[in-house]
Amino acid sequence: MYPPKFGYVIPENIHEAMEFLESHDDSRPLAGGHSLIPMLKLRIIRPSYLVELKTLKDLQGIKKGSEYRIGALTTHYEISKSGIPLLSQTASVIADPQVRNMGTIGGSISNADPLSDYPAPLIATNAKVVVISKRGERSVPFDQFQKDMFTTDLSQGELVKEVVVPAMDGYRTDYEKLERKAGDYAIVGVAVAIKEEEGVVKDVRIGLTAVNNKAMRAKSSEEILMNNALSDDLISKAASAAVEYANPSSDIRGSAEYKKKMVKVMTERALKKVRK
């Protein structure tokens, strides 16, 4: 319940924040705080300083052009209300209303909890992460950004500046989350984006979360569906193929065997929902 002692930094701008984070080993940036503060309260981490990000303008707001550029400090609540295909639906089922009012997309992907929701749509849509540091900006495909559970491509002094998601025009999308109760992490999460022309699948993306160390694309399921009509039979075949991409662990949310079976069930549900 009680965090250990730490120092606290209120920077005037992003440059001061990055400078401080780079020069202070063990300092941690504070965004929504809804993973960091719970970890502090359990004393799982003992940072030297927290660096407050909430006022930094470079990390805020959603810009829409041919793609959505989502500032790292954009909250789950704001994303859920902004009509971004697939991502808004996903944001609306993260945790509970109070958590969505504080939690941010930058914080969620930087924390890289393997059970979190965003990685499924981000890997399905080939999202990019813009990383900023004293040396400038770099853009990293989401797949490379997520290195392992709780491990990202971020080095000391780097921050997520924004997440870039394609507009997915002409796609129909769905996120299916299996959970024990409203507000929980996913047992299994499946994100689907599909584009059909004259009843034939022209593009399909399937992203899985909570069943590996990091989110995965179910590539062979996608191949089964490509250039075909979405019949019940084919959907069932593609959903079965998704199971080979799941390597879940047994825990309080269920056995590995159960979770694998649920990958098929949730993939099938998602594909049936996006079928015209």
Partner: protein
Amino acid sequence: MKVVNANEKVSIKLRINGKDYEDVVEPRKLLVHALRDLGFTGVHVGCDSSNCGACTVIMNGKSVKSCTLLAVEANGADILTIEGLEKDGKLHPIQEGFWEKHGLQCGYCTPGMIMEAYFLLKENPHPTEEEIREGISGNLCRCTGYQNIVEAIKYASEKMNSKTD
């Protein structure tokens, strides 16, 4: 840039229920403890893992779990707690709904539950039963079984809409 070291305290300002407060806190002090120490003991602590929502307050128009914010992080914020809901001794329609529909027993979750209902009805003045249940899914209650809480929020919704429509 302001740097507060681990053994130092920092002075903060909070606007709580329309009145200004100043406090001096360690960076690690949680907002829920700061609020209770300032006298707002209707804000409760029911867990240590951000699940239960007994500490829910409205901060800058949004419901938040005050156990999962630092007091220093809330510096400058406008906060509404259960103590600020009644006006001149007259209960807010949500408070009245919880009384009329028996939406509380031990009363420990009630302040947080009412503040979340306040946020829910501001966002969605005409919620369905399903939307009410989803809307309070961050607030646990061990006594009521939720049924009468849903009724209480429906009562408040109807009363608030009949006033404003």
